[in-house]
Symmetry: C2
Subunit: 121 residues, 2 copies
């Protein structure tokens, strides 16, 4: 197992138009899944929910985000927390790409399967 | 519950000389604990271990880090993963402060107790 992870070595897939997921933790030994999510200017992460808890951090850019009945414009360095099964979504603000880090517990089996499928192509 | 979290509103304590912990998730509803760790230039996070898994990201500065038998110099944007009970530690490189984000599962009861104790002072 390699404990140190470079974004350049991560495996990625397109989740929606203009939304790329780079998966940083891919071992079945890991309880959490960590990703870098890259949202192109003018793109949207539609409202959705999942049973996994989510902690996130804005690495670069600006993001309008809604979680349950709260809504905020987040900037680089801001954090958020999404409880299990809470509806949430986001869209970029302005003409810059937004890059954020998300960590989920338990791990996102759907994302890991997506990576696996891409490798079989 | 407030889903959006600003580092300026976080609760903090000194973990070691030159090492400050700012806790971003403090609710007992949260399975994960997220912190910002600030390490002053020339300071050390001594080798230690804990049963909680840890995922981390370098927000600013440079860090020499060791996890088990691996060792790396990490820069802004680099990631790492610490399995349960794996010994690890770090020290700053150069004359700049290092700021990193750490997310633990399950939550760090020791950190939450430390915050609670400080509030009672």
């Amino acid at each position: 197992m390699h404990f140190f992870k470079k974004i350049s070595e991560s495996k990625s897939f397109d989740l929606h138009k203009g939304v790329k997921v780079k998966v940083l933790t891919t071992s079945n030994d890991e309880s959490m899944t960590a990703i870098q999510l890259e949202i192109e200017p003018g793109s949207l992460m539609p409202t959705h929910k999942h049973f996994e808890e989510q902690f996130g951090f804005i690495k670069e850019g600006k993001l309008r985000m809604w979680i349950g009945d709260e809504e905020e414009t987040l900037e680089t360095g801001d954090f958020y927390y999404v409880p299990p099964d809470k509806e949430h979504g986001s869209s970029t603000v302005g003409d810059k790409k937004c890059v954020k880090i998300d960590v989920f517990y338990p791990r996102r089996k759907d994302y890991l399967e997506m990576i696996e499928k891409r490798e079989q192509l």
